[in-house]
Subunit: 327 residues, 2 copies
């Protein structure tokens, strides 16, 4: 449904090359987690009618997400995502920048189309602002992520704030979009906006911690991304931050080399880092924290009266899935 | 006023580095043409009160414009703009991509703040859509511009369509923003939206043709940009397209070398191309066409009953200025 709307209503225009660059990553698939949250939240709180109204908003968050991935892949110099070459590898950096910009514009265009789907103007205006708030945060989060690469150690809280901005904020926005589709932007919707926003935020934090785990322990054939990239790049994840704090001697100095981007990069060395992460309990710690956020997200759904219990169950399942997933 | 609003209300946040990258070009100056059009249009149609309501919309178009410049400079590999090094030269390509993305998000944020300035939600929603429509067009225009570099000859109409998308669409949006601030988004505003949109479009076309002229005949000390870049890059401008059509023999083959990006690049050769552009009448042709668009823009203003004649006079003056300017 969302894909149909994107292809037939939103992403139409010329010249073809820039639309292809904008949609290339979108077409390559992805979990469609964010539109799922928009649609399921709308249905949970307003039934099938609300789910229909949510369609353009669901398209908007997924297009926005793909825009961020296109640009992030340029900045991170990543060659593969979803098992295919990244946009700038296929279209060149210039067209990837431009395609990303267009995908961004199309996400707003999708929201603009929601009047036709029965959303009132006040709600549309609110949806624009929700996406914008997330957009600002995502930029801030990406900036922090890049800055952290140059630091040796960052505080867990700074790490959590960074992943909230970079990943959690858009999932928070997705859940809020669902509320807007179901209940509009009247004052009475504020409580649900706040609660469902928290749901999205917690799912986002759990998701990103799991992502960091998969970056070291995932199977590249399943994740579609090369393993150990985060280690080589000195990314500050809970795994390495915890391992650094809870190791000493030769182990600690190896982790310090990770944190300061001084790894030699041999397979053997990277595997050694991975086993230190396991031995120090860092893996366990990160898994526990991801599960805790997941559980908090589940609790929020259980505390809201659902118009459609199936949709509520789907959101619960999603919160559990993000910490168990291998992909 | 617009700068104050941008600095104190819109562009606040952390980490500092990404906000600095986003605002670096903005701080370096620029003609502030687009916010001028927003504010003057609002005042012309709704007096001082409308001008106040227009402030966030004026900030939005200027931030958006700066976002496009940051990314365009990366794509065009330009080193200088407004007499200072371009954003990616100062902050690196990664932070320039990200800073541009943030500037883009901040342009939407500015619109979102306009409720506080007295704009109703329907008008805000319309303003979001006007900016979005321009954003899509600007991406399309930049894609065409880049694609044209690889072609030898393009039709005048294709060139005009490209500069409308790349430059005219945002000026069109700026004038429409002014109408929204003055008259809201009620059906009665549609006629003015259409007329003032045309004004912005014509000013934009005149502006861009003049820009192309300054790219070859301007004084780099005044324009802040190096001369002849367009020639070296095989940019399809009216100047070279006309010169190609109206020359033969050795002159024509030199212009063909420009169009197919095969110039050797010596100062002597570039000056020779410039004099062929003069000799063939291409310069005159481009100047005439720019003046024609300028005159059409003036006519539109003269055909609208102004609440504030001074503001109308300022818009007339602006339409004349864009074709006479040396900067």
């Amino acid at each position: 449904m969302v894909d149909w709307f994107v292809y037939t209503e939103v992403a139409r225009g010329s010249p073809k090359n820039v639309y292809e660059a904008a949609l290339y990553l979108y077409r390559s698939g992805g979990k469609r987690l964010r539109p799922f949250i928009v649609m399921a939240t709308a249905r949970m709180l307003g039934g099938l009618e609300a789910e229909t109204r949510a369609l353009p908003l669901a398209a908007a968050v997924e297009l926005f997400h793909n825009f961020t991935l296109i640009h992030d892949d340029i900045m991170d110099k990543d060659d593969f995502r979803r098992g295919v070459p990244t946009t700038h590898r296929v279209y060149g950096v210039d067209f990837a920048i431009l395609g990303g910009d267009l995908a961004y514009a199309l996400s707003y265009k999708a929201i603009g189309l929601s009047e036709r789907f029965g959303l009132d103007l006040a709600s549309i205006s609110r949806a624009f602002s929700i996406l914008t708030e997330a957009a600002v945060r995502v930029s801030e989060g990406q900036a922090l992520d890049m800055s952290f690469e140059k630091e040796i150690y960052v505080d867990y809280n700074d790490y959590l704030n960074m992943i909230y901005l970079k990943t959690g904020a858009l999932l928070e926005a997705s859940a809020k979009m669902g509320v807007i589709a179901a209940r509009g932007s009247a004052g009475s919707a504020e409580y649900l906006l706040e609660r469902m926003g928290m749901y999205g935020k917690f799912v986002g934090l759990a998701f990103q911690i799991r992502d960091d785990i998969l970056g070291v322990f995932g199977d590249p054939k399943i994740t579609g991304k090369p393993r150990y990239n985060d280690l080589l790049r000195g990314k500050k994840t809970l795994l390495v931050l915890y391992a650094y704090k809870h190791s000493e001697g030769e182990k600690r100095s190896l982790i310090e080399r990770v944190l300061s981007r001084k790894l030699a990069g041999s397979q053997e060395e990277l595997e050694r880092v991975a086993s230190i992460i396991e031995e120090t309990g860092a893996l366990q710690y990160a898994e526990d924290m991801a599960r805790r956020y997941s559980a908090m997200a589940v609790e929020i759904i259980e505390g809201i009266e659902a118009d459609d219990p199936d949709a509520a169950a789907a959101l619960v399942e999603l919160a559990r899935f993000v910490v168990e997933r291998n992909k």
